[in-house]
């Protein structure tokens, strides 16, 4: 058991878990037909059936409660302010599964030339309100009240000491919905992680429906009709947001060190944190020369790489792999889409570089721009 916990601790480290999750993600939520074939071959589509759902929930919830037998795990998840976050994650799982189940159901119906579940006769549009809707709304309201009352009895308000400007808690954590951003601060300069990326991620996710304006799949759940955009959306949502919240809430302990789920939050834990700028890497290590004094010259390699990332790769993809997509989208939509995608990609790329080559900043112009 100890060994298993140890392995889980090791595997949960973002270096491993993020990579695994990022790769597995595209098999579970295939963005292209090729991935979709793999998805079927691996039978991952069965996750979105009732049985698959039961299995999925049993694994996650069962694993969670089994883990609470571990005192270190329990100490963190059972903190009154963490309980709602845990509940929220279960909720995310359930609704994700439910939406996917409906989408997959519809895909099957469509494949066999049936109408989707949500289909209504356009000539007779109606929604049953009384008593159906009103009644279940009442039931839901009463249940919510009861749940809140029981909850407030069982868990006292997680009040802490009076706020004191001279004493910051360790770890100092943002509200849970910002923990993803706080996690990004590990890898990025504050104004990128705190301002630019959140704006890009939120607006990017919001913009997706306006980029993909195809009429298929509109008005009902469907996956395969718009797999690319759903997959990209979920990537941004699940990996760049929810995953980072999980890490930030449950696995970042004192001094913002990473702690596995069964690891004790030891305030004395020490991890080597020496990082190196890309400029030093190229000039000193590869070219074996001192760093140039001129900042632009010094950072030129990073700037060039960044230029390639944003200005060269998208057109290149447009004329090769994404040729069809490009012609469907047109110039403007394609450009917006690629800008958002490449910006979103910098996050995992940077994380990956940090873990592999201890990269501090690709471009480091202190006071101006650090990436």
């Amino acid at each position: 058991m100890g060994a298993l916990k140890h392995i889980i601790n090791l595997v949960s480290a973002p270096q491993v878990s993020f990579l695994v999750a990022a790769i597995a993600f595209f098999f579970v939520f295939p963005p292209t037909a090729g991935f979709e074939r793999w998805n079927r071959r691996l039978r991952l589509n069965l996750l979105w059936t009732v049985r698959g759902g039961i299995l999925l929930h049993a694994l996650v919830i069962g694993g969670f409660f089994l883990s609470t037998l571990d005192p270190n795990f329990r100490a963190i998840v059972a903190k009154p302010d963490n309980v709602p976050i845990a509940l929220l994650l279960f909720g995310t799982l359930f609704f994700l599964w439910y939406a996917m189940k409906q989408a997959v159901d519809n895909d099957q119906r469509l494949a066999s030339d049936q109408k989707p579940n949500e289909y209504t006769d356009p000539s007779e549009p109606k929604i049953l309100v009384w008593p159906d809707l009103v009644y279940i709304e009442l039931i839901a309201a009463v249940l919510c009240m009861a749940a809140l009352i029981f909850w407030s009895i069982a868990l006292e308000a997680p009040l802490e000491q009076p706020a004191n400007p001279t004493l910051s808690p360790n770890p100092a954590k943002a509200p849970w919905y910002f923990l993803g951003l706080q996690e990004m601060l590990v890898y990025f300069d504050p104004w990128l992680a705190g301002v630019v990326f959140p704006v890009l991620i939120i607006f990017g996710l919001m913009a997706l429906p306006y980029i993909d304006t195809a009429p298929e799949g509109s008005g009902y759940y469907s996956y395969s009709r718009r797999k690319l955009f759903i997959s990209l959306f979920l990537f941004g949502w699940l990996l760049l947001w929810v995953y980072l919240i999980i890490v930030g809430a449950f696995m970042r302990g004192p001094n913002w060190n990473f702690f596995g789920p069964y690891e004790e939050w030891d305030i004395h834990k020490v991890v080597p944190l020496t990082n190196i700028n890309f400029s030093a890497l190229v000039w000193v290590k590869l070219l074996n020369r001192p760093l140039p004094d001129n900042i632009i010259v010094r950072e030129i390699f990073g700037i060039v790489l960044l230029g390639i990332h944003f200005l060269v790769v998208p057109p290149l993809l447009g004329v090769t792999v994404l040729k069809k997509f490009y012609s469907r989208m047109g110039n403007v939509k394609y450009a917006v889409f690629m800008f958002l995608s490449m910006a979103a990609l910098t996050l995992p790329i940077k994380m990956f570089l940090r873990w592999t080559i201890n990269l501090k900043y690709l471009v480091a112009i202190p006071g101006w721009f650090n990436l």
């Binding site: 049953l128 008593p131 159906d132 009644y135 279940i136 009442l138 039931i139 009463v142 249940l143 009240m145 009861a146 009352i149 029981f150 009895i153 009040l159 802490e160 000491q161 009076p162 706020a163 004191n164 400007p165 004493l167 360790n170 305030i267």
Partner: protein, 990 residues
Amino acid sequence: MDNNEQRYYDPKTLNRVFAVTSVIFLASLVAMFYYDYDREWREHQATFRKIDIGSARERLERDQKRLEQAQEYQQLTEALSSARAEQSRTSVTVEQERAELARLTKQRDSVREEMNFEIAEHAAAKYKFEQARAKGAPGAAKLEKALLEREQAAAEKKLMVEQLESQMGERRAAIEQDTATVVALERQLAQLTSRSDLLIRKLATLDPARLSALDKVGDKVRDLPGMDMFNPRYNVRDHQLIIDGITEDMVFTRVPRVDRCKACHMGIADQRFADEDNPHRAHPNLDLFLTQSSAHPMKEFGCTSCHSGRGRGTSFTTAVHTPDSAEEREEWEKEHDWERLHHWEAPMHPARYTQAGCYKCHTDNPELEGADKLNLGLAIVRKAGCNGCHLIDRFNGEPKAGPSLRRLKSKLTPDWAFKWIKSPKEFRAHTWMPAFFKQSNNSDIEPRTDVELKAMVHYLFAESEDRTGQAEGKRTAAGNAENGKRLTRARGCQACHMLADDPYDATLSVDAMRRQQGPKLVGMASKTTAAWLYGWLKDPATHSPDTRMPDLRLSDEDARDITAYLMAVESDGTLTAAVPATDERMLDEVTLELMAKNMSQVAAKAKVHGMAVEEKLAYTGKQMTRHYGCFGCHDIPGFEDEQPIGTDLSEEGSKPIAQLDFGLRHDLEHVNYAWFEEKLKDPRSFDHGLVKKPGERLLMPHFGFDEHEREAVVTCLLAFAKPDSELKKALPRTPRNMFIEEGEKLITQLNCRGCHVIDGAGGAIEPSLVKWVAEHPPGQEPAAEKEPEEEEEDDGWGDEEDEAIDPEILARAYMPPDLTGEGAKVQPEWLFSFLGDPASVRPWFEARMPTYSLTGEERNTILRYFSYLDNQKFPFEKPVTVDTNSVEFKAAEKMFSPAVMNCKSCHVVAGKTPEGKTAAEWAPDLGMAKDRLKADWTLKWLLDPQTLIPGTKMPQYWPEDGPSPLPDLGADTLRQCRAVRDYLFTLEEE
């Protein structure tokens, strides 16, 4: 319309779901009420009510038994019943009068009501008329007429009321007259039964057995869940204290301090509940706390001002109680579902550290009455020199705890110093010098620490001034050790030093610590030379200008004898450590390591290479002396302006727990006092298991405190908390308080209480004195050999039967004077010059007040201290002028004579000693009175010596009440006393 039966859901199913949902919701509401109602205080208040009823019943029963047995009560009841019988015989008239009174009252009420209407109408009419006249309205005249009518009507009614009331008065007087006897008797009886009546009234609202059926129902209903929002019997509101003027600090703001502790601790301020179990028990010290007459009334201070904890909490856990032991913790967890609320910054102190709370206000009293543990802790902190390494605000400016090492060379040998520092307790088990070496985190690097120690000793001796040969020239011959032993006892050495056969108490006390002001005087021979010791005894300042050892003004012969004795007393332990040869390789290593702190490794290497061994020792010695912070306690050349090396402890008690490094110790509870306890138990234990270079290891030395001492010190550490400005103001910084505080500091430094009782505390020498007197009864020794101590006073004696007296009482006669009330007693000028040159008040005693080299300012500090302590007008006294031709003077002369009071039979007068008495029985020279004593005090002293100095042998000539036994001056006690006092003030010293 039901034809369209298209449905998403089956209505029946929905109904069922809704039914289940409703039941769940109902259950949640019931649970909500239940948990809101289920409070500990409710249960405690119900239990307390039972206890209260029981106690009231018991008292009522007792009181009624008392009444039954009281003759007066029997007589009164009988008298009352017969008076009542008498009255009922005449009852016809009384009844008629009463009926008439009732009729009149009814009539008056009705007329008065009419009168009130008229008055109101009149006021309205007046307003209308005034307005009309002011505006010049045409109807004004008519309105004026209406006004006058109203006035008339009101006056008439008023008159009628008055008439009726006067008739009523007549009736009342008549009734009173008829019932006078009965009422008077009833009143008498009521006085007798007032206690019972009170109890009955109390029980009437409290005791279910005395409630009416309806009240019984109400008693239950008012506390039912849901009903208890109106006027419940059991509540918190009635028991909470909102403390005026002492608020709580919430960082950004201060909020009122609201203490709800009494909601459970209902009997806390009532002595009657002293034997109940918690939470109903009374406070253990109601004389000092909570009661209105105590120094800390509950309404002014509340509970949490002293105890900390969360006053607003109404459950066991949320009040933030703190268990005193692991067992108590377990018990609480089981019984009260207790858990530690980490987020409350000021939890209650565990019971054993309660006295830390006193320090919130009483930061400046060196000794606080009733806070023994805190006092002991503060004394230990001072004595152990904690403030040498740790800044502690209140100890700023205190002298260093250890002796000066500037003139070490003439006293010790380097080898002895090495062995001593390495393990001081081997030499003196109770020494206050702590152990730095052979500790749990450095015994593995002994070769290195030996080199460090060697280097330090080298440095100390190299820097030391050599005084050998000074002040010892006159030591011509060896002394008499036997006489030396006697002298050490007789001269009062035991006020500050333990001697060979003095036992240590099982537990340390502040008083015991006064006797440890200096080291235990054993094993001198293995430590120093007779020459040094002789010189030291003759004049301590030669060897250490700042020493606290005073000059005892010893004759050469006495000093020689004492030297001989002290050199002969063996130590109770021996230093076993061997002094190794200097390990040069290790020395190089250490020197290099130290050197490399200030320069590059390469440069340091080169430099060390070029140094001689001596140089390396000197360099390393100085660095290590700094490293270990030796200068914190000792005056060491080269470290005059050094800053203390330790953590600032001024606010240690408020330090967030995260700042206390528990290292790898997971066995300790994560609370500050557990950390402090462990730190004192094994100061290095938080290093265990960590990889640390020698120079990085924890340094705090081991003091070898036992549990009792650790508790006292931890109490202090918890007390050293962030100051609360409001609580600080509880004790105002008046000149009186500040002068007394300043004086106390100096008196503590000089250890005056080693000999004297001052302000009710001190006189630590007494046990040694009792022992000495028991072993050497005064009768058997030559007269010149008695034992009192220093300084002034008339503690008494004069009477003959000394031999048979219990040594304890006899010792009191030999005790140094009790200085309580000294400010009222002696003249400031005298005290000032006495402190500079303490010529003994009883020069014929061996024990004497030693000479302290006090500056004028220090002497004034002591003067001010005594004066303010006794609320004296400071500083000067009007001299007493005496007319030697007056009747009073002649009478006094007569009273003073052998024929009457015979003062000379005990008192020395102008150098002439009393005849036929041993020196032990002589009383001070009356010739000194004029310059020394205050006139008011002397008068009081003559009138009633025992009140001023309990146990004095000075007889009381004038009885407290009743006429004077002497016929002179009209047998007027006060006049006679005044005359004797004035006469005394004319006597001259030799």
